[in-house]
């Protein structure tokens, strides 16, 4: 455990398990152990998500969380109904955005109600702290719901394993560190609890559990767009159960109750609205609902008709019902009642689709396919052990294991197509790995209770999961008898057992260490505050973003409009509280393209666009001084591409590449690039800048070149503020009467000068010739010319 205390839960747990080994067969102990393990999983999950808070401070991360935080704060301040009706005129200037109708409000309501409850108890907690710590707290709830789900599917021992896995697995931590206040943080909890309730309701067939399933589905719909995964997976489960001939009245009750209640409730979310009955993504659920009705009808008819009649009737009914449903859907789609698949979902099936048709989806790195490296990085040993759990689930299949198998197979496909959907794969991987480890260790530790007492000490050192063993054999005495019977034939030998158990423990320890390392190194950067490490290991905090946003909030007019690339829209709105043109909710591509066009045109063209959009300030991110690679020049080609998509006449991507097809900012770069607004704003006065006296002036550390266009002045803008490390540069757009206006050619002048300037030079003093001057010949009449 080189990485401190975060990997501790498992050893502690084994310690608890040891106690249980002494007091066998007491159900009180069993629940105590379960409780302890879950509590420890919660605590360790919470603790390992705090790297960012400890290293930096309690701060909201990245981009989208800033919007969520801002709208949560708005809701807390103005109340829920005002939030639903909120028209945000500070975003997408001059269009504005209807926030209440375009968000999933579950996240805001969750933290808002926590805030409300705490304040009614006179515990004054700032809403920001609730937002920062919401995801780590919910990770504990996710662990508990994973435990419940796994318990339904296999055993509570496996459940404890799964809970511990999901508490620390990087695939889930990546979306739920403290400060990453995003929908996914609570959605995975909602996902797992919905699946648990669904499996429970299929098992029991009670309306009560089905209603609870629908309720938690409602919560999921309010929280995350990924609810579509549930509303397709549950019908798939039902459909496969029907195909396998596992129809039962329990299934009928639970599915119909869930479907109807879930449908009605999901339509209560304003952002979802009528989508559940109008879009193709939801059609599978209604199709299965119709099928369910047809099957139950057939089952009923079966009780009346004779076998021969039934066979004939069955064929006709199945073919008829199937084709009726199919053609209805096709017809409705054709008539435009049902919307076809949205592009983002379509790209999951046709993997080449997004690349060609939707560049703005393809440009987001989350939507890239997944390498084996990322699978291993996020799941470590679980990636090789979850197939074992899958294997045993298939080997001893029943209704609920069909569900987990389908879940695994579909989630692994989606995770392969899109990195982002690794998040939906992670819970099922934890469940199945929990089953695999629990099954294996259960077998190996069970027989170690052999009467020979001299082994017991060494066993106890190594036994990691006796809790699971005890759940397999509740009747201890009986088993011992059976064991003694088989003592002769059985017995791998305590050495083999010991080695196997030790190896498993070793692997689990490596998993815990890996998780801690990955969490600490890869997933705990707030990306608002940057840290750089000196050669002696000293740490320097670069707080330029907040510096710039604070400057904006203090030194500009409250209605000032700030133009920047869309990545920074939410942050400007959240931290500086200023109006932005575009932000991370990329709903209006042409507006983004307009900003991209302004950034990639030259100064005077850009000025036209900026005045038409009433821009007061322009904000660019420039990493050339400190070597920050995520700056605007590196993103610049996407701006050009998106602008070219809407304005192909004015912006051409090829103008920004050299003849050899390279994107260069040094002296070999194309003149279009060296004179565009983004270049000028990034490198204004950078030509005079040198890091130290040895380096050449104007050396860009991100791209490792000396810039190509060093000495230029800005005509239409002036530098307003540049942060300490030049990371953020803010420019003020001049008003038309401020800049020295360029000379307008005579022909285009609206107001012509009345007096004509007459030169005093006479013909004699100045000699000049006029081409084709008509010559006057005196004393003769000019001849008529045709």
């Amino acid at each position: 455990m080189g990485m401190g205390g975060f990997g501790d839960p498992r050893p502690k747990r084994s310690h608890n398990a040891d106690k249980h080994g002494l007091f066998s067969n007491a159900s009180g102990w069993k629940s105590l152990i379960t409780f302890t393990v879950l509590a420890l999983a919660w605590i360790s999950g919470f603790a390992s998500r705090l790297f960012a808070v400890i290293r930096f401070e309690s701060i909201i991360h990245e981009f989208d969380p800033w919007f969520n935080y801002r709208s949560t704060a708005y809701m807390v301040q103005h109340g829920f109904y005002n939030f639903l009706n909120w028209f945000d005129e500070r975003a997408w200037y001059p269009l504005g955005r209807i926030v209440g109708g375009t968000v999933y409000p579950g996240l805001m309501i969750t933290s808002g109600s926590i805030h409300y409850i705490l304040h009614s108890l006179n515990i004054p907690v700032n809403i920001r702290d609730i937002c920062v710590f919401l995801a780590p707290i919910f990770s504990g709830l996710t662990a508990i719901s994973t435990y419940l789900l796994t318990k339904e599917i296999w055993s509570s021992g496996a459940g404890l394993f799964a809970a511990c896995f999901i508490a620390i697995v990087p695939g889930y931590i990546s979306r739920s560190v403290a400060g990453s206040y995003d929908n996914e943080g609570i959605a995975i909890f909602a996902l797992q609890i919905t699946y648990f309730l669904w499996v429970r309701s299929v098992k029991t067939g009670s309306i009560f559990w089905a209603c609870l399933t629908a309720l938690s589905y409602f919560y999921m719909v309010s929280a995350w767009g990924g609810y579509v995964f549930i509303i397709n997976l549950i019908p798939l489960h039902v459909f496969v159960l029907l195909l396998m001939g596992r129809y039962s009245s329990r299934l009928f009750t639970s599915y119909t109750t869930f479907y109807i209640m879930g449908l009605i409730m999901s339509m209560q979310i304003p952002f979802v609205g009528f989508q559940p009955i109008r879009t193709s993504e939801h059609m599978a659920a209604s199709g299965v609902f119709a099928l369910m009705m047809a099957v139950s009808f057939l089952k009923y008819v079966q009780t009346i008709l004779t076998k021969a009649e039934m066979r004939y009737f069955y064929m006709v009914a199945v073919v008829g019902a199937g084709s009726v449903v199919f053609f209805t859907v096709v017809l409705l789609t054709y008539a435009g009642v049902i919307a076809p698949w949205s592009g983002r979902f379509y790209s999951l099936w046709d993997t080449g689709y997004a690349k060609i048709h939707i560049p703005i989806i393809a440009s987001v790195s989350e939507h890239q396919p997944t390498t084996w490296f990322s699978f291993f990085f996020d799941l470590h040993i679980l990636v090789t052990t979850f197939p074992v759990g899958l294997w045993y689930c298939i080997k001893s299949i029943n209704d609920e294991r069909v569900f987990i198998v389908l879940y695994a197979v579909s989630a692994v496909y989606f995770a392969g197509v899109m990195v982002r959907l690794m998040l939906t794969l992670t819970p099922v991987v934890c469940v199945l790995s929990g089953i695999a480890f629990s099954h294996l260790l259960g077998l190996y530790l069970k027989e170690e209770e052999s009467p020979s007492s001299q082994d017991s000490d060494s066993e106890d050192d190594g036994s990691s999961d006796k809790s699971s063993r005890n759940l397999y054999d509740k009747a201890g005495k009986l088993r011992r008898m059976r064991h003694e019977q088989m003592k002769e034939s059985d017995g791998l030998g305590s050495n083999v057992r010991g080695i196997v158990v030790m190896a498993m423990l070793m692997m689990l320890m490596m998993f815990a260490v890996h998780c801690t390392w990955v969490t600490g190194n890869a997933y705990s950067s707030p990306s608002i505050v940057l840290a750089s490490y000196g050669q002696d290991g000293s740490r320097q905090i670069l707080d330029d973003f907040r510096e710039a946003y604070y400057w904006l909030s203090q030194n500009t007019h409250s209605d000032a409009r700030v133009m920047s690339w869309w990545d920074y829209g939410y942050q400007i709105a959240g931290m500086a509280n200023r109006t932005t043109l575009v932000d991370n909710n990329t709903w209006n591509n042409s507006h983004i393209a307009l900003v991209g066009k302004a950034m990639s045109s030259n100064e005077s063209e850009a000025y036209k666009i900026m005045t038409s959009l009433d821009v007061d300030y322009v904000l660019v991110i420039f990493g050339g001084v400190i070597g920050y690679s995520g700056d605007d020049i590196n993103k610049f080609l996407w701006m050009v591409r998106i602008a070219e998509g809407e304005h192909p006449k004015d912006i051409r991507e090829s103008d920004y590449f050299t003849e050899r097809g390279e994107f260069r900012v040094d002296s070999e770069g194309t003149p279009t690039l060296l004179n565009c607004l983004m270049y000028k704003l990034s490198y204004y006065r950078f030509g005079e800048f040198r890091m130290d006296y040895r380096s050449t002036p104007g050396f860009d550390r991100t791209r490792n070149v000396v810039i190509g266009n060093k000495n230029f002045d800005l005509t239409y803008l002036e530098e307003a503020y540049t942060t300490e490390h030049w990371l953020v540069r803010i420019y003020r757009v001049k008003k038309p009467d401020e800049f020295n206006r360029p000379r307008i050619p005579l022909s285009e002048r609206k107001i012509k000068r009345s007096k004509i300037f007459i030169t005093k030079k006479t013909n004699k003093r100045r000699k000049g010739t006029i081409k084709n001057k008509p010559t006057v010949v005196k004393g003769r009449k000019p001849t008529k010319t045709a």
Binding site: W372, T384, G491, P648
Partner: protein, 332 residues
Amino acid sequence: MKLIWLIVVIVYGILLIQHTDGQRNRKESGQSSSLNERVQQLIEMSNKRSLMRFNGNKFRDFVKATPRNYSVVVMFTALAPQRQCSICRHAHDEFHILANSFRYAHMTSSRLFFAMVDFDEGSDIFQMMRLNTAPVFIHFPPKGKPKAADTLDIQRVGFSADAIGKWISERTDVAIRIFRPPNYSGTMACILLIVLVATFFYVRRNNLDFMYNKTGWGLMALLFCFTMVSGQMWNHIRGPPFVHKTASGGVAYIHGSSQGQFVLETYIVFFLNAAVTLGMILITEGAANRGDVKKRRILVILGLGLFVVFFSLILSIFRGKAHGYPYSFLFK
């Protein structure tokens, strides 16, 4: 008599003048009217074949001849099998689709023509244009010589019909909507498969026990998982090379960075993952089975070996790709 001579001379003179006139006329028409003629010929030719094949003479007549009011996009290629240019064939197909789409939309347009020159039919043109690679796409504008931007940058944009179309619309302001001939082979294969499966079920309709074979289903699910987890979908979308030949002449099987992977690398990972999983199943089976103790013990040891060794291998490959990753097991 004098009069007769005069008349004869005049007539002769007239004839002479007429003769020379005629010669001059014919010369003039050979130059000026040939612009119209050429356009007419080009339209006829391209209506017969949207992608015209030019040899040396035709190339000089239609592309190099100076008064022009049309653009020509020429693909210089080498399609003969002995040239072994596999890219040329793909490029030809794409270019053909583009030419057809243009002809289909603008039947009588005389602004833009598509042509190709094969190396084996017009090697002199290759020499004249100083080309030593194929395929090359050059746009010949109506006025002046092709500039640098009139050669398609295949390295950067590729030669898909869309890319060429976009380039042409940049150069000539003619936007081409690409009609790809619908590809029925996928649909046909799908239908064939369904029919095969249906017949299979029909033939075996009295004995569907194999449907209840859990091992089969389990194997299928596991294979699918391994396929996805080893990044085959990434390969499918990104199309990486099979292996990479390094500058020193060696062959790299493993991509050095965490952002990429090679096809062979994913096969290796597929195998390693499967081996670890198999190891763990063997360990479990060894304890779960009832039977010969020796056999089971061997099973367990074998499984443990597979599990530990192959997992360490994955870990060391992972470590090689993640720079600065501190942990390893058995192998560095």
